[in-house]
Structure formats: C-alpha cells, structure tokens
C-alpha cells in the first residue's frame, strides 16, 4: 500500500485531438443536462417568489410576471394572520426540543459507542428499531395518556408540551448519528485522559464533546430543522387551539382561515421557507458533513 501512495513523477501526455474533442462533447452534454435539471429544480421557487409579489388580480390571471411589484404583500400577511405568534411558538418548540435532544442524546451515544457492557448491542438494535418505526404506531395511546394527565389541573392537550417533552429523553436518530461519530474518535485520546486521572463523565464532558463538535452541530441542526418542519404531532396536540399553532400548521390553514388570496399565501410560504434557507447558507459545511455522516459507509 505504501509504495502506491508515494507520488511518482508522472508526465501526463496530451491526449490526441480525437479524444480531446470527444471529452469536450461529453462534458458539454453533461453540463447541459445539469443546467436543465437545475432550471427544473429552481422553477418552483421562482414561481412562488414571483407570485408572492403580485397583486391578487394578477395572481388569478394568466400573467407570469408581477406588474407592478406588490412588496406590501409581505407586510399584509402579518396583519391577515398571527404570523408572529406562530413564529414564536415554532422557535419555542424548536429550541427547547433541540436543547433537549443534544443534552439527552450525547451521554446515551457515548455509552453505546465507547463503554463495554453486556446488552450494548441489543440496546443499539432497539435504538435502530425505534428510529425506523413510524410515529403513528405509538401516537394513539400517547394522545390518550396526555389527555388523561392533569397535574395541578394543567391541560396538556392544546399546548406544545406533549411534543417538546419527549425530546428530553433521547432521540433515536441523534443517538445513532452521534454513536457513528464517537466510534471514529481514536481511543488514544480517551486513554491519555484516563492516565491523567480523568473519570468517564469528565472525559465525555471535556475530551469527547470537544472532539465531536461537528457531529453535535449536525445533530442540533437536524433536530432544529426537524422540529421547524414538524407537522403531524403539533397538529395532533395543538390543532384545536390556534394560539399554540406552529408555522407549519398556520401555513396549512392559511388559505382557508380568512379566504386569503394566492399571492399572500405564497408570500407566507416564502417567509416560512426563508429561515431554513438562511440557516443552510450560514452552516453549509455542517449540513453536508451531517448528511454524509448519516449515509454511513460500507
């Protein structure tokens, strides 16, 4: 192996003209297909954005370009619907859930990846099964339990707490992703800390969590995205009380709520997409690394 890695001085010969022309043609064909696909992937965004800037009459006509540009649509949506309230609820849910996922999943993943104990493999398989099963399987009894549970007369149905609280008890996907990353940390780091008299908990808090920063960032990012986009469970628990709606529920009911027009609906759609897309451009590397980490290698 080592001999192959040594850089051998290698003079690249210029390929003959026929080969060069063929390569160029292949490259041009490839790029035209890529450009065509890009247009197809960008078109929906473009249609949404353009419609968000139309007046209502225009949105209902066959015109494809706004004239004049109705920038005030983005102000109007806030008066037509309690968008601020929904945004606040969404961020409350997303941040509390994300914090809980990180705090509770890191220790579990560490125990699964780095400590040796009987039943560890079985526990990991259970995590995988929990990861794969649809939420609909457990949702009915959980709903019943939350509906019957009134500590100090507090009613959980109609709030977002039934969706937030479970995140504080480990999330299967995050445990899985963190475990995969913890496995790649060389044992020498931990051994060095152990020799210095570090306990396992301190190793986890100082050495591992610092080395695993990219993975923890990816988990936080995915958890935030998941909760920001979540629809089914929030709908179940807070569907009847608009005051506790998150953006995804509000948006889905937006058109029917006040007979609102398409132009305003698309403006709201764009506003809901915006935070995620901004987040992506701010944290592009963490995204791509995280996605690749989930796609684990063979």
């Amino acid at each position: 192996m080592s001999t192959a890695d040594v850089a051998v001085p290698f003079v690249r010969r210029r390929p003959p003209a026929r080969v060069r022309r063929k390569r160029l043609l292949v490259s041009v064909a490839n790029h035209s297909m890529l450009i065509a696909a890009s247009i197809a992937f960008l078109a929906p965004f473009a249609f949404i954005a353009v419609t968000a800037l139309m007046t209502n009459d225009q949105a209902l006509s066959a015109n494809l370009w706004p004239h004049p540009f109705a920038w005030h649509n983005f102000v109007d949506v806030f008066t037509k619907a309690p968008l601020w309230r929904w945004t606040f609820n969404t961020f409350e849910y997303a941040s509390l859930a994300t914090l809980g996922v990180v705090v509770s999943s890191v220790p579990v993943a560490y125990a699964l990846a780095r400590l040796r104990w009987r039943g560890r493999n079985l526990a990991f398989i259970v995590v995988l099964i929990a990861l794969m099963l649809p939420p609909q399987v457990t949702v009915v009894p959980l709903y019943v339990a939350w509906a019957k549970f009134h500590p100090f007369g507090f009613n959980f149905i109609g709030t977002l707490w039934p969706v937030i609280i479970p995140n504080w008890f480990g999330d299967a996907f995050s445990i899985f992703l963190l475990r995969q990353f913890f496995l790649t940390i060389p044992e020498e780091y931990m051994d060095a800390a152990r020799v210095d008299g570090c306990g396992e908990v301190r190793i986890l808090l100082t050495v591992v969590s610092r080395l695993a920063k990219p993975a923890i960032a990816a988990v936080a990012l995915f958890s935030f995205l998941y909760t920001f986009n979540d629809f089914f469970l929030p709908l179940l628990y807070s569907g009847e009380s608009p005051h506790h709606w998150v953006l995804s529920i509000g948006l889905s009911e937006f058109r029917s709520l006040h007979q609102v027009q398409w132009n305003l609906t698309m403006a709201a759609t764009l506003l809901v997409m915006a935070p995620v897309i901004v987040l992506f451009f701010l944290a592009q590397r963490a995204f791509v690394e995280g996605v690749t980490l989930t796609g684990v290698k063979g």
């Binding site: 696909a37 006509s61 609909q136 897309i277």
Partner: protein, 317 residues
C-alpha cells in the same frame, strides 16, 4: 479477598456509570415507546371514544378493519402505489443527479446547492407551493402548457393525477439522497475504473460493473429508508388535499371533509389512521390500525437491522 472486593466495587461503579449515561433513553424508551406499544395492543381490543371508559370487544376492530371497512383497502392500495412509484423514481433521479455531478468539472458546488435546496423547504410550504403551481385554472404550469397548445391536467383536483403530482413533489425534494449518493460515488476508488478501462470496459459497462456494485449498499439503504418514509406519508397528502379541496369548494372548514381529496385518491394509511383516531376519536379502532402498521414496519425494520452490518460500519477503523 481484598482484591476481589475492589474488583467487584469497580464493576458496580462501571455498571452505575452505564446506567447513568443510558438513563435518558431508558426512561424515554419505556415511557414514550414501550408503554404506548403495550397500551396500543390493549386498546385495539376495545371500543374507546376517550369519553367513556374502554369497552372490551375482542377482535371486532380487526375484523371490521380487514373485512368490512372499504376505506382500508383504498388506503393500503394508495400507500403501496406511492411506495412502488415514488421510491424507485427517487432512487433513480438521485443517482442520476449524483452521477452527473460526479462527472462535472466546474460549478459542482452551485449545482449541488441547487439540487439540495428543495429538500430543505418545509414540507407544508413545499406542498402549498406545488398546489399553487399546479393549480389547474391559473397556475403557472398549466399557463405555460396552454401556450404550448397543451391542455394541462387538473393535477391535485383529479383523482388520477393527484398521486402523480405528489410524486413530482417527492422527486423535487430528493436532495438528501442525492448528497449521500454523491459522496458514495466519489468514494469509489479510481483504480477500479482504471483497471476496468484497461480491460476494455466502456462507460456503460463501467457504470454497470464498477459504480453500481461499489455503492449498492447505499442504494439499498436509500430504498429501504424510502419504504419506511412511505409508510408514514402524511403531511404532504394532508396539506395537498386540504388546500386543493378548499380551493374547489371555498369552504372554510377543511379538515374533516377534505382528507383523501379528491375521491379518496390521497387517502394513505396514516391519513386514514388520523381520521379514525383524531377526527372521529375511535381510539380502539385507530389502535388496531396502528398495530397493523406496527407489524408491517417491524418486518421491514427487522430486515434492515439484520442486514445492517453491511452498511453500518461498527468499531473504529
């Protein structure tokens, strides 16, 4: 003697540590997973409307689910249709995009971002966008089609076009899978291609005999994940049906009447479960549906976990 006691104490301390670290998941698993599973099995044998206490009915819920209720078969058929069409198309398109990206010399970063962005769009927002874009009367797609002299279909308003429209939406959001495939394709050792080329393999043969076998675990993983996601397909169907039907009737209340619109063509299994459980509050019957879903997804999951050694690398390399 002394040493043995010390060792025992160390073993106990170790066990306590594992227990401490695992405790969030132990509590979470038993409360939010184990308990509801057992409870679901119990409720499925009862008639329960949340108001009066559960009434034991034996297997009546299951009998009704499988032999009487005509909607069950519709929902199962729709779900199978979606999985059978969407999953292969998603794998194919993600693979195609990844291959083109792997071959491109310039602009890889920009193209990758463009293909990935739709996967980021919140499902509700993306669905809403598609219902508008494909809206039959004034939507941009049908407008453009009519300029080309084509009479566009009714998309989300037409029972035979509603599912294909959802498939289009699904393909639009294929970015995650594409990124995973791209990483896998770029990971195939160059030497394999070179030796294949020396053996006289053309581009298609290299794809067939080098690329595909090298990344087949990743392809398979994506397909199985697609099946799992297909089994829980809810948000897009719910939103599309709600918005499309609201548009047709201009009705203010969309939730209960619109599920499955048009004509039950988007009534997928999770949508039907939602209707029975959380619109009609037939908790016993919905639990029976959940148990059937559990059985199906457990078989699929078990198949993955048993084969997981192939794609989940275990232990430090």
């Amino acid at each position: 003697m002394e040493r043995r006691r010390a060792r025992r104490r160390a073993a106990w301390r170790r066990r306590r540590l594992v227990l401490l670290l695992m405790s969030p998941w132990l509590v979470g698993f038993s409360v939010f997973f184990g308990y509801p599973l057992v409870m679901s099995a119990y409720l499925s044998l009862n008639h329960y409307d949340l108001l009066s206490s559960p009434r034991w009915v034996g297997l009546a819920n299951y009998r009704y689910l499988f032999t009487v209720d005509p909607q069950t078969w519709t929902a199962v058929k729709n779900t199978l249709w979606l999985i059978g069409v969407l999953v292969p198309l998603q794998v194919l398109s993600a693979f195609g995009l990844a291959l083109m990206l792997a071959r491109a010399r310039t602009g890889v970063g920009i193209f990758r971002t463009i293909f990935y962005l739709p996967a980021l769009a919140p499902p509700v927002a993306a669905t809403l966008g598609f219902v508008f874009i494909l809206n039959p009367a004034t939507g941009p797609v049908n407008t453009i089609l009519s300029h080309l002299g084509i009479n566009g279909p009714l998309w989300f308003q037409d029972p035979s076009w509603a599912k294909p429209s959802l498939v289009m939406l699904g393909i639009w959001g294929v970015g995650n899978t594409m990124i995973i495939f791209l990483a896998a394709v770029l990971d195939v050792p160059r030497t394999l291609y070179e030796s294949a080329q020396l053996d006289g393999a053309g581009p298609l043969q290299r794809l067939r005999y080098v690329t595909i076998p090298s990344i087949s675990p990743v392809l398979l993983f994506a397909a199985v994940l697609g099946v799992i996601q297909g089994l829980q397909y809810f948000t897009q169907a719910y939103v599309a049906a709600g918005v499309a039907s609201g548009q047709a009737s201009q009705a203010a209340d969309v939730t209960s009447v619109s599920l499955g619109y048009p004509v039950d063509s988007t009534l997928f299994y999770p949508v039907l479960l939602y209707q029975h459980g959380f619109v009609d509050f037939q908790m016993g019957y919905a639990s029976a549906m959940a148990m059937f879903l559990f059985a199906v997804s457990f078989v699929v999951t078990l198949a993955i976990v048993i084969n997981s050694r192939r794609w989940v690398h275990s232990g430090a390399r």
